[in-house]
Amino acid sequence: MEKILSLKNLDKKFGHVHAVNNLSFDIEKGNVYGILGPNGSGKSTTLGVILNVVNKTAGEYSWFDGKFSTHEALKKVGAIIERPNFYPYMTATQNLKLICKIKGIATDKIDEKLKTVDLYERKDSKFSTYSLGMKQRLAIASALLNDPEILILDEPTNGLDPKGIHEIRLIIKEIAKHGTTILLASHLLDEVEKVCSHVIVIRKGSKLYAGRVDEMTASKGFFELKVATNETAFLTLLEKHPSISKVQLDHDTYIATLNQEMSATEINRYLFENGFTVSHLVKRKPSLEQQFLDLTSNN
């Protein structure tokens, strides 16, 4: 598959702070990537480096297999980092025209993109009169101007109210549907879970995991079980089963974590044959949040 971006052993130090530590990953065309990490984990610094605003200390990165220099490549990229930055004294249209000049593209898509982000009515208002949500939407419009090969978003919903967050998410989903490659940095897990097919988890500048969301942990899942009678014997029975690694009691629900594949039918039969009928049986995969917490606390 075509590689859009490739990082190799990227390193960035701010004095004593090791913001990005030997980070390597590839971004392939057509996927939606999430970069996950707690605040201060080096997400924004990493994006800053690949976007030409932060100097790397060591390592390499290349855009489009190194076919273009970084600033040429960035003309094919749409990126929003942190807060939207525009000229306050210009209107939305004037600001977007300037970006067209920088990217060296025609200005005929400005109206279309302003409609996409629902700012067309306000296109002749000065940027300084916009609300934060509108500013962020204008930033998305500016990132879409060149129909980018990849859209890079750094905390796009930060600081917005619930309505603003919802609007931005809808726009991102819509863009993802059209097959645009997206790289989304966030510490909001449900945001990433809802739109991303792949994740890169970093903590303290080091990569903990990179791959598909559904393969993030080796977990085989777990069962939630409830039983009405004889709970001590039930617990012992569960613990005896070779596929179950551990059993916890959460209120009146037993959580049986699996260490190898087992279907709900199999466990139901096993319990029934040993004289138990359960009142509640669900097989679950851990949520992204659970996996993320496991990953970041284990390492």
């Binding site: 030409n52 605003v53 100097n55 970084t70 600033h71 930055n85 060296g104």
Partner: protein, 280 residues
């Protein structure tokens, strides 16, 4: 180059403050022509400045470029703020993300400075030519076209001065502080001159010796490019000659042109090097 200029022009044309300052600057340049109307009462007679030979070719080239250069501070404000606003609004960061390289960013500013200086020079040339044709006692082509190097010096002076402004704008990131830094620099050059004066106090030509040292500094070199024209004026010269020996060179010297050009290069390159090294 035209892409970069058009980017910078786009940034300036919608900024009210820049437009006002630029209009004031060119308005004041035009008003040099008003000197023609100045009449000073003098011991019962009136002296009509225009008739005292200040608009005579080729003296007018010297006089007008000198006066016009005093107005450069208005454009300096525009240039310093066009640099520092990019920091304040973080649009510099956005420009880079959008695909402008750091080199292109600096070049777009430098080209703008270059164009400002060029337009100012052409402007001063036109006004002086018109004033001269109107008031000058000598209208021979050879006389009109002599001493045109003052215009070249004017151009080099503006480019150097504005490049200094760009450099300080990047260095301190705030327009007010950048202007302040320039004043501090100017005081610094004067202090070095005074130290020089003290150092050469035994010599008869202490002032000249001290000036020789400070001539290597940017602001001093810029001011040496076009020397004050006042004492060259007919009336004043007569008085001065009566009082004593009066020999002074008013010519544009190659050495000063070279010093200012080298400083311009240093300023622009350092601005680029600084920006390149910085994390935004």
């Amino acid at each position: 180059m035209f892409r970069l200029l058009s980017i910078e022009f786009h940034k300036l044309r919608y900024s009210k403050a820049s437009k006002i300052l630029i209009s004031i600057y060119f308005g004041l340049l035009t008003s040099i022509a008003l000197i023609a109307a100045v009449k000073i009462p003098f011991f019962g007679k009136t002296i009509h400045l225009a008739e005292q030979g200040i608009f005579n070719f080729p003296y007018i080239w010297h006089f007008n470029t000198y006066v016009a250069a005093l107005l450069k501070f208005f454009l300096l404000l525009v240039i310093v703020s066009m640099m520092s606003n990019e920091y304040r609004n973080k649009t510099l960061k956005q420009n880079l993300i959008d695909g402008l390289s750091k080199k292109e960013f600096i070049l777009s500013k430098f080209y703008t400075v270059f164009v400002f200086a060029l337009i100012s020079t052409l402007f001063v040339f036109t006004i002086s030519l018109l004033l001269g044709l109107f008031y000058s006692d000598y209208n021979e082509f050879a006389i009109i076209t002599s001493d045109l190097e003052y215009l070249f010096a004017f151009f080099i002076k503006l480019v150097g001065f504005f490049s200094f402004g760009l450099f300080l704008g990047i260095l301190v990131k705030r327009s007010a502080f950048a202007i302040g830094a320039m004043v501090v620099w100017w005081i610094g050059e004067k202090i070095i001159w005074l130290i020089g004066l003290w150092f050469f106090r035994a010599s008869n030509e202490a002032m000249e010796a001290a000036s020789k040292i400070t001539a290597w500094f940017p602001l001093e070199a810029m001011s040496n490019l076009i020397k004050e024209p006042g004492s060259r004026l007919g009336v004043v010269k007569t008085i001065a000659n009566q009082m004593g020996d009066f020999t002074k060179s008013y010519a544009v010297e190659f050495k000063d042109i070279a010093i200012v050009s080298v400083w311009t290069l240093i300023f622009i390159y350092s601005a680029y090097a600084m920006l390149k090294k910085r994390d935004l």
